[in-house]
Amino acid sequence: MSTATETAQPVARPATGSRAFRKSRLGRILLRSPFYFLVILIFVYALFPFFWAIRSSFTPEGDLFTTPLQWIPSHPTFDNYRTALNASFFRDALINSTIVAGTVTLVSLSIGSLAAYALGRFKFRGRGFVMYLMLSMTIFPQIAILGALFTIISGQNIIWFIHLPNIYNTRWALIFSYLIFTLPFTVWVLTSFMRALPRDLEEAAYVDGATPIQVFYKVLLPLIAPGLVTTGLLAFIAAWNEYLFALSFIQDPSKYTVPLAITNFVSPTGSSFAVPWGAIMAATVIVTLPLIFAVLVLQKRILAGLTAGAVKG
């Protein structure tokens, strides 16, 4: 910021030799060079681990474990990708994670948008309380209810007369438990989108004889479509990345989600000392690419959603 104000605005200061130097082309470049050095440093810091993951994923297993290290693989290969994708638990994990995160996102969006409609467009007693409840849920430590969730999920629990089914070691366990962090967040962010819409749109629809439900899905929902995309993506990422519940509620390798699979690659010999880092890095690249793609395409929207969820909250 400092440099921007320095160069962009003409400043009312007595002209000196240093000012002439600052205005010259060479002077400007020299003055800004520490700044650009900082920019490059930030780029390298943020991206180097990705470079290293990609480099390792294309390096043959033999070359990975020899010193001195090759920073650029001399014999690039797809072998690691083949190994990763040949592991059936990894392929299953991609499917499982997509199903779990997709279902959680759809459920959160569909019931969350109804709640956001009520909270954003209606005035009623108890509204403040519900908003407060949702906000406190978004900062709720999930570990605090792990034991209770564990009993509920393993079907050892009877509420009144309803005997809940045993869903331990199934995708349902994850879909159920992930709602605890996706739903309150979805409600909170969508409410802020709902409140930002102008009043007169709705009123025009009411004058034309629309019911509140028609107003919701014919007028308001199309208008907050960008908000739905953003919130949905954020909920999807949160569910896709979750580890604690997956580790606690899933045992069967065929039910693994992506984070579980990434930590469960073992070497073909079964030795715990020889970790197959090439295959792990290939798997890392495979699961990271779609996320990077989605983030780059929707970056402006994500920023808007994050700030609506955090800063304004």
């Binding site: 991206l47 019931i111 209810i145 034991g147 509920i152 990345n241 990434i262 994050l306």
Partner: protein, 313 residues
Amino acid sequence: MSTVSTPIPPTTSRFRRSTKLQRRQTRLAWLLLLPSLLVVLLVAIYPLGKTIYQSFTNEDFLALEPSRWIGLENYRNLLTGPDSAVFRSAVWETIKFTLITVGFEFVLGLIIALVVNSSFKGRGVMRAVMLVPWAIPTVVAAQMWKWMLDEKFGVINDAGTRLHVLSHPQAWISQPSTALAAVCAVDIWKTTPFVALLLLAGLQVIPQDLYEAAEVDGASQLQQFWKITLPLLAPAILVTLIFRTLDALRVFDVFYVFFGNAANTQTMAIYNQSIIVGDGKVGYGAAVSVAIFLIIALFVVIYVSFMRVTADD
């Protein structure tokens, strides 16, 4: 619901109509909220109540006899029992991790936010790049760093020894003196860009003419930072710090990927998870959960009272 479409009655009955409409609106609002509230009740509030109840029982997954009420015994065990030293060290480890990461993330995040807030070529790219570490799963980030920190074949030891920063390769993860620093490095790398983005959102609402006026009055860059930027950024800083602190206190993924549940490098969350899922001691685990909940609540209270103090100034 179709009653809304009836033509608007004459103004004489306006008052009666509005209360009736109000009542109908309230009923509809609660109806819209119902699914979300039911989910929150089932996945969060009921389990929380159950956890508190379980913490007073000796519930055990492996025990054959039904659990019974044992009063405060779990809490007594937690504070003075044979396991209490492990719990205390887990709490201390978590707090150290929180202070280190939140501190670094705030300082580095602020520097990055100030850099990105100035206009330069590649600013848009930089913002997109910053979202990427945030979007990938923590487990994936931890695996990438675990490989980079490998004692024999890791790039950090390789680069360090080549540049003569390190005299000899370090076992970053397994030696106690660097283990915490290694985990912190992952979290700082993954989360600093996110902190920067939240602070950037705060920076962008500071009116530019304040800086112009300060410039005219001859204030230096440093004075502008201390007298304009920092005070006006304070609300964004506080909210960011609260979110980061609460997140850091429940850290699980990075530690688990790096160390598993080794006793000397446990966090509160890992200790709790291994008690409940590993040992099946749900009752004692619930007491640990309640303790964690209280510790986190304590931090919230500290922050909120600090916010009040600064708001009064």
